[in-house]
Amino acid sequence: MLKKKQLDNIQGWFFIAPPVVVFTIFIFIPMFVALFISLQKWNLLSPMRFVGLANYSKMFSSGHFWNSVMVSLLYVAGTVPVTVVLGLIIAILLNQGIRGVSFYRIMIYLPVITSMAAAAIVFQYLFEPNIGLFNHILSLFGLPPMQWLNDRHQALLAVIIVGIWKRVGYNAIILLAGLQAIPRYYYEAATIDGASRFQMVRKITIPLLSSVTFFVTVMQIIASFKVFTSIVIMTEGGPARGTDVLPYFLYKNAFQYHKMGYASAAAIFLFIIIFIFTVLQFKFGEKKVHYQ
């Protein structure tokens, strides 16, 4: 007869065995393998050759790589602040005791659950310079047509717009939950003290929501660094590498040029960026909501 303690150990490990196996094979070992391959020259066919840090030094002296870093940073800078601020505004508006909140919540969330590939195709059509809806709308305001996906800078703007569209709803929903967790009596006290609506937003809502705002900001930064699908469908990194974000740079080098070592070095670089933000999240986002 097994003792209860032994039985617990056996059963506990038995229950967690499947994830242990899956994570080991598909997450833990690959992390080390990625690091290992980044030190090799390898095209999948010929044998690997150890090259030390050559992939990294090649990468850091490559104009294309720094272009991708720049494009990714611009993409993050273009999407994150707008999604957070817009999300916050919508959340605050939703929290004003209006009717039909659940209707708005659903409708605002639709882009988040939508397939990015499908959305990107539709946006590509909307951005079409000659027959697209967006240029038509511009013309209604007497504005000249834009080149959108045919122009290096405007293409980046276009994918940024798609990114904002896709993710603003996520922020709004989470920030709304944060707002609803703020005790009512703060506002009641402020009302009695004669605070204006705007003052309450500025002095109560925004400070008390800072930790949730921090959380969504970091989530958006991480998600924006990983943008991929919209790029593949809408621009393929172009024109003239104007939208060649890091994940696409990585993908192209690995699966089109078969430079596995070089691509792995880029993967490690991407990992470090994302890891920094994740650690920030874990460190400072620990207690996300604290009012009292």
Binding site: N9, W13, V33, A117, A119, I121, Q124, T229, A254
Partner: protein
């Protein structure tokens, strides 16, 4: 005095109408792509090229849907996606619930360390380990199979975490009683814990289904034959070959999107609450 008289915490009707107007405008704005997608999918060729663009098709024209259903095996892509997403959801519910139960209720050696390590897997983005995983699947000969699409995702740290939170709320007495009664833990989990945790299990399954249905990068890399193609990759392939046949492309996009939207409408309450809770709890 007048300020004190203002009813505390409510919005005056005038302002409320303004706010509702702003929100309605925003809702319309974010839904333009959906409207445009569905409207375009029913348009005829000349209407697509018309400028200024027409809001609605002159009549419902099903050519786009007919093309994707007959010229390419779109039904196959659809069923592939359904099969893969469904398998992943079911296995995630089962495997994650066992692990979550162990973390919530069984005092076994190394529990906290392992749980911490599991949480750590959420910090590793798929983009970073995609090359090694591609190589692994190549070595075991799984490239371009259902295994490649399913097995790496049969269980996930996020699902385990979510279910553990839920299981911890179930009173420990219930667990102890069951064990003393000689009711094995597996049976206890299946007959007592499962019925109590239906909402949580459903949430895990839904997240998994949605993530799998919409996933793009992974199937793009590990599959290439027509037989194994999932709907998202089919969209990319159609776009490569048909380029500007916007009727068919938007018809395909509609089919890729609508099932998820319909599903979402049915379960949105649960779903959005889940997002809010997990979002706040990390």
């Amino acid at each position: 005095m007048s300020k004190v008289k203002r009813k505390i915490g409510t919005t005056p009707p005038g302002l409320r109408i303004v706010i509702e107007g702003v929100l309605l405008f925003f809702v319309l704005l974010v839904n333009v792509p959906f409207f445009w997608m569905i409207s375009t999918s029913f348009k005829l060729g000349p209407e697509i090229l018309a400028y200024p663009p027409r809001m609605f098709p002159s009549k419902l024209n099903f050519d786009g849907y007919k093309y994707i259903w007959t010229l390419v095996p779109f039904a196959r892509y659809f069923l592939n996606t359904l099969f893969v997403s469904f398998s992943i959801s079911v296995s995630k519910i089962i495997l994650a619930s066992f692990a979550a139960y162990a973390f919530a209720k069984i005092p076994f050696k190394g529990k906290n360390t392992i749980f911490f390590i599991f949480l750590g897997t959420m910090m590793i983005p798929m983009e970073v380990i995609i090359i090694p995983n591609y190589i692994t699947l190549n070595l075991i000969g799984w490239l371009d199979t259902y295994w490649a699409l399913i097995i790496p995702f049969v269980v996930g740290a996020f699902s385990i975490f979510l279910l553990r939170q839920f299981f911890m709320q179930i009173p420990q007495d219930l667990d102890d009683a069951a064990v003393i009664d000689g009711c094995g833990r597996t049976r206890y989990l299946l007959t007592i814990v499962y019925p109590l945790s239906k909402p949580a299990l459903l949430t895990v399954g839904l997240y998994a289904f949605l993530a799998s249905w919409n996933s793009f990068l992974w199937p793009l890399i590990v599959t290439n034959s027509d037989n194994m193609r999932v709907i998202q990759i089919a969209l990319k392939a159609l776009q490569d070959s048909w380029m500007i046949d916007w009727t068919s492309l938007t018809a395909a996009s509609t089919i890729a999107t609508v099932p998820i939207i319909v599903l979402f409408f049915f379960v949105q309450k649960q779903f959005l609450e889940g997002i809010a809770i997990t979002g706040l709890k990390g």
